[in-house]
């Protein structure tokens, strides 16, 4: 086959599922209506922390139209997304850990009946102490929210050290010591989670669900229901937004599966908006302290980072999230010595987990705001300052993260140029300012959630005499455009139109395993698998065509739904004729492709979190207007450049970036997954402050600024046609860029997210009173850290292993 310019890749085009989406024909889980279908509602705990003394379901069972009432004893097997924290039950058997923890389920002829009956269930609770904050959980070991974890109510405390960071900081010319806080936020997908379960005619279990991770749900169902996975079929319906919020196996999924098995009738549940807030698994609130030593020449000598995560009531992805708060500090700027210590505590709130950027936006915020302070102190332009310390390509960082291509410097230059940064920074009138920040993110996690050596993504192709191609892959369309990437890549390789390819995705019966739509992994991993499968199909076709036309294979061109001789383009066959020839010659045509990421060079415990085939990079300049009297803040313009490697479909890439700016501004300015503790002398209540889409403030279209998006395209050898991720990375620079812009506008630091008018006013008042011109947390608590694992950086003769780690336990235990 001979090379040619791409026909599909790199051109903006209508995504393959656009028609269905805009005409309302996409069938989301809640759109599924089946004959004899019943409806389920969950009864959730009204207590934040309590022992269940008794549950009386007799009144609920007696309600007309009720078919089944389930409680914890019906589903005794625990499960959880990480093998190290299988701490969830579909229905709480003996104890509730937050307001919203499911206690019982009612299946009835309709939702109203199920909801009414659920309220007839009497649950007697024995209240336990309420843990409302990490400070509470650190201060009191008893009662324990869980009977596992490091100790008391500390779920996990980790410490990693790469070189003698204390000496590096002590020897530095300047030391910066800053404490930041990043409030929790939730995903806010438009689609509320929904699941329909049924027995198929064979008697096997089928579960349709709005999940980002059908494979992991498949495993959790097999475990919790004690069934062979081969007898369970999970079909991921198109998600109306995921953002990480549909990546865990959820109570409601397991409950309706159990109910469908018991009743032999389809059972459906669609969560209310309030329940979506309670499922959560969103951004961890993180308190963090950065101690950074900086040399006189502006290079970083060393960084010492501590993070404290409010994990909520369950493990979820929390151990991975904890490591992520310290994993990516080193992949943007040179940090020769580095220590990271992270601690996640349990509290009586909905569990936190992965939200777009998973654990990294919080510490990225702190890092980028601190860099802004450093640059100011050194009297260097923050853009210039960053450009001097950008990590070079093809390098290994202090914590053994492998950086391949890095377009960060180009991203910085581009936003600086387009925003006219040099004419604005520190030059705008009081009340107007610009701020710059950068970021990086993984193009897929290097390791799966559970230990195995199998591929992370598989693609099967079926070609037949119709000329059509069907692509099967376990990847899940959550709105990000993964189906479009799949058909686009296959069409490109085979020289046909994306419309000629049918995507069958996210179905554990029909499709090869793909680990799911999380960690920005799908384009790269599924993409590489798809290219491999398509190239194998192309080879088969080429062989048949070469025989028939007497043209050497290496002269054949696949393009425009034809296969032809590169030297005599008119000499060739239609694509359909080629498939017929191949089918005649070889029999039924099917190919497979799979992808496994390269091995990580880090071999220390925890080193499994952070590695990826390649990192994406982003830089952003945000312009703000801040009223110096009221603190009112407006964002009129945002410039953002993203190192995408290669934009497979630029329309989708730009959409992802603009969506990330939107979500980033929400986190920067208003979003808070906040909780209300009533006065303890009067009540033990701890409730979500306002679990409604009206009062959980997220920007509307009227709040959006003008966005100027630039794509930096240097194809990365690891990515399909050079592509990197874009689903998460562009979110990260927005929050610190806003905070830095506020400082440029009015000279006060808001070292906490969200940046609100009240906080700006408090900082202004502090400044006026002669105190530090900032609003933010005062101190980081003393935490009883474990001895850090000592890993020498590559340039200090390190081999990626910890010198003080028990050799037997060097196998990486924590992965994501």
């Amino acid at each position: 086959m001979t090379g040619r310019a791409p026909r599909v890749i790199g051109r903006p085009r209508r995504r393959v599922d656009a028609r269905a989406k805009v005409t309302g024909q996409t069938r989301f889980a809640d759109d599924i209506m089946l004959p004899r279908m019943l409806h389920c509602r969950l009864l959730r705990s009204t207590q934040p922390h309590a022992q269940i003394v008794a549950i009386d379901v007799s009144k609920a069972t007696a309600v007309e139209g009720v078919h089944l009432v389930l409680t914890g004893k019906d589903l005794p097997i625990p499960y959880g997304i990480l093998p190290v924290s299988n701490d969830e039950h579909a229905l709480c058997p003996d104890k509730v850990r937050f307001v919203g923890d499911p206690v019982a389920a009612v299946v009835a002829r309709d939702e109203v009946t199920a909801g009414h009956a659920a309220q007839q269930i009497d649950v007697s609770y024995e209240p336990l102490r309420t843990f409302a904050s990490p400070a509470d959980s650190l201060a009191h070991d008893e009662p324990r929210i869980h009977d596992y974890g490091d100790h008391g109510n500390v779920h996990k405390a980790v410490a990693l050290q790469f070189g003698d960071v204390d000496a590096a900081i002590a020897g530095a010319d300047h030391v910066f010591d800053d404490v930041f806080f990043f409030e929790g936020s939730t995903h806010l997908p438009i689609e509320q989670h929904a699941t329909v379960a049924l027995k198929d005619p064979d008697g096997k279990l089928v579960v349709y669900s709005s999940t980002q991770t059908p494979h992991y749900l498949h495993r959790a169902l097999a475990k919790a229901l004690e069934m062979p996975a081969a007898h369970i079929r999970v079909i991921a319906t198109p998600n109306g937004g995921g953002f990480g919020g549909k990546s865990d196996p959820f109570n409601h999924e397991i409950v309706v599966a159990k109910a469908a098995l018991l009743l032999d009738r389809p059972v459906k549940i669609c969560l209310s908006r309030e329940e979506v807030f309670l499922c959560h698994r969103g951004r961890h609130p993180v308190l963090m302290r950065f101690r950074t030593g900086v040399n006189g020449d502006g290079t970083i000598a060393g960084m010492d980072l501590q993070t404290l995560l409010d994990g909520g009531a369950y493990g979820s992805y929390g151990v991975a999230s904890t490591f992520y708060t310290g994993a990516l500090q080193t992949v943007t700027y040179n940090i020769p010595r580095y220590r990271f210590r992270g601690c996640r505590v349990f509290t009586n709130k909905p569990p936190c987990g992965p939200k777009r950027g998973h654990g990294t936006p919080q510490s990225r915020f702190g890092q980028e705001v601190q860099l802004d302070k450093v640059a100011e102190h050194l009297r260097v332009d923050p853009a210039e300052f960053r450009l001097r310390i950008v990590v070079p390509p093809d390098s290994l960082t202090a914590n053994y993260m492998r950086v391949k291509t890095i377009g960060l410097a180009d991203c910085i230059r581009r936003v600086v140029d387009r925003s006219q940064w040099k004419h604005k920074f520190r030059k705008l009138p009081v009340g107007r300012g610009v701020g710059l920040a950068c970021s990086s993110y993984l193009s897929g996690a290097g390791l799966p959630i559970y230990w195995n050596d199998m591929p992370h993504s598989g693609v099967q192709l079926k070609l037949d005499r119709s000329g059509g191609v069907t692509a099967f892959c376990g990847a899940t369309e959550i709105g990000q455009g993964s189906d479009d990437v799949l058909v686009g890549l296959i069409a490109e390789v085979l020289g046909i139109d994306p419309f000629d390819v049918r995507a069958v995705t996210g179905d554990t019966d029909l499709t090869p395993v793909d680990l799911g739509s999380y960690s920005s992994r799908v384009t790269l991993m599924m993409g590489n698998a798809a290219i491999q499968a398509a190239e194998r199909a192309r080879d088969i076709l080429a062989s048949a065509v070469s025989d028939r036309l007497g043209i050497p294979s290496d002269r054949l061109v696949f393009a425009d739904r034809r296969v032809f001789d590169s030297e005599r383009p008119e000499h060739g066959l239609t694509f359909q004729e080629c498939v017929c020839l191949a089918e005649a010659k070889f029999g039924t045509i099917g190919t497979v492709g799979s992808y496994t990421p390269p091995k990580s060079p880090g071999h220390y415990k925890g080193g499994g979190v952070g590695p990826t085939p390649t990192y994406s990079y982003s830089a952003s300049v945000v312009e703000v207007e801040v009223d110096p009297q009221t603190g009112w803040i407006t964002v009129p313009r945002v410039w953002i450049a993203h190192d995408i490697g290669c934009a497979l479909n630029p329309a989708l890439v730009r959409g992802q970036i603009e969506g990330a700016v939107y979500m980033g501004l929400g986190e920067a300015l208003m979003e808070e997954q906040a909780f209300r503790r009533l006065p303890p002398r009067l009540s033990g209540a701890l409730v979500h402050k306002f679990p409604s889409i009206l009062e959980y403030k997220s920007p509307t279209s009227l709040d959006m600024p003008e966005i100027f998006t630039d794509l930096i395209e240097h194809p990365d050898p690891e990515g399909p046609f050079g592509a990197k991720e874009v689903g998460q990375g562009p979110l990260l620079p927005i929050m610190p860029a806003v905070a830095n812009a506020v400082y440029d506008a009015i000279g006060v630091r808001v070292d906490q997210i969200p940046v609100t008018p009240e906080k700006i006013v408090r900082a202004l008042q502090a400044k006026a009173a002669g105190k530090a011109a900032r609003s933010g947390p005062a101190a980081f608590p003393d935490i009883d850290w474990p001895e850090p694992l000592l890993v020498s950086p590559p340039w200090e003769n390190g081999d990626g292993r910890a010198s003080n780690e028990n050799k037997k336990s060097t196998k990486v235990v924590v992965r994501s």
């Binding site: 307001v99 309030e274 208003m670 209300r676 409730v687 403030k697 009240e758």
Partner: protein, 343 residues
């Protein structure tokens, strides 16, 4: 998802029918026009009427009549009012208030009468049954304690209507009809500063019309504080209408929204300005006086101290706009949209 409880729906075609039906069992009956407030509250079991009387089919409630002033049927949708050129030209403050209510979809359904009678709001009240159960309920519904101020004998839910403060500033009156007859009262008499009993409307009465006096010589403005450019209820608002002779204030009313359980008229601030020239200094003085009567509580979005401080800003902006200052930058920043300049 959340579902409505069972209820009986009676579609009235005349005001007389509606009034007769309402009188049958006023305690268990509610009126419904657009339903944008009633229905979500029923889903959350904040309100549990056994009967809803639908007002949508009553033609005379949906009429706008021009005379010496304006008579607006309580059932006129907010969208229809917004599109009414005479209203926009003569009562620009009302236009600004309505343009900032909720979203276009909700304005297409919601009515002016519904907004005037809007239930008071509170973070402890506007929640689902399950949420309220988790705090053991509150004074306004099913409980016996006000969680906003735990020693308060009275419910402190906040008046959240955008139109009422502006209509008050414009000098509106309202007509209430019951099976026993009808009465016309100044709008200010419709409200009481009590989060639970915030309307003086008798349970058997129907708000049928809102009457605005002639706007001849008057200018008006409405400034609303909320977090976002659309969708949100006010957490503080300033409505003002003034009759000016050049820059001299002949008459003026200033009314605050969302800082108490009823719209609050700032008589003292008006006194500062009456008969005076509308100078920067007078405006600042009046804004300071007005903000003193604001008593926001910690039961809405934003911290209450800051909210209170913003009242002064809002009043000041409104007065500057009435004076004819170019407030378009401030509007863009605060409202996230350009509301019309004064006619």
């Amino acid at each position: 998802m959340m579902r409505l409880p069972a209820f009986r729906y009676r579609a009235a075609r005349t005001i007389a029918d509606a009034a007769t039906w309402l009188a049958e069992n006023p305690a268990e009956t509610m009126l419904i026009a657009g339903g944008t407030d009633v229905l979500p509250k029923m889903k959350r079991r904040q309100q549990t009427p056994t009967t809803l009387i639908g007002l949508r089919a009553i033609r005379e409630l949906a009429e706008i009549r021009n005379g010496n002033g304006f008579t607006i049927g309580a059932g006129v949708t907010l969208s229809k009012l917004l599109a009414h050129p005479g209203m926009r030209a003569s009562y620009s403050g009302l236009f600004q208030a309505i343009a900032q209510i909720a979203t276009p979809h909700l304005r297409n359904m919601g009515t002016i009468g519904g907004n005037v009678c809007l239930d008071t709001r509170c973070t402890y009240y506007d929640q689902t049954y399950e949420w309220r159960k988790a705090i053991d309920f509150c004074l306004k519904k099913d409980g016996d304690r006000c969680w906003v101020a735990t020693s308060s004998p009275q419910c402190l839910a906040v008046s959240s209507t955008d139109t009422a403060p502006m209509l008050l500033a414009l000098g509106a009156s309202v007509t209430l009809v019951s099976s026993a007859g009808q009465r016309v009262i100044p709008l200010g008499e419709l409200f009481a500063n009590d989060g639970m009993h915030y309307l003086t409307r008798r349970p058997d009465e129907i708000l049928t019309t809102i009457t605005l006096p002639s706007s001849e010589g008057w200018r008006s403005a409405y400034w609303k504080l909320r977090r976002r450019g659309s969708f949100d209820f006010p957490v503080a608002a300033a409505a003002s209408a003034a009759k000016l002779d050049g820059l001299d204030v002949v008459d003026i009313r200033i009314v605050l929204g969302a800082v108490a359980s009823r719209p609050v008229e700032c008589h003292a601030a008006a006194t500062v300005l009456k008969g005076q020239r509308l100078t920067d200094q007078r405006i600042a003085e009046a804004a300071a006086v007005a903000s003193e009567v604001a008593k926001p509580m910690d039961n809405t979005d934003y911290e209450l101290v800051w909210r209170k401080s913003m009242v002064r800003t809002l009043v000041s902006h409104a007065l500057h706009e009435i004076r004819g200052d170019d407030m378009s930058d401030r509007r863009r920043q605060l409202a996230r949209q350009q509301l019309l300049a004064l006619a």
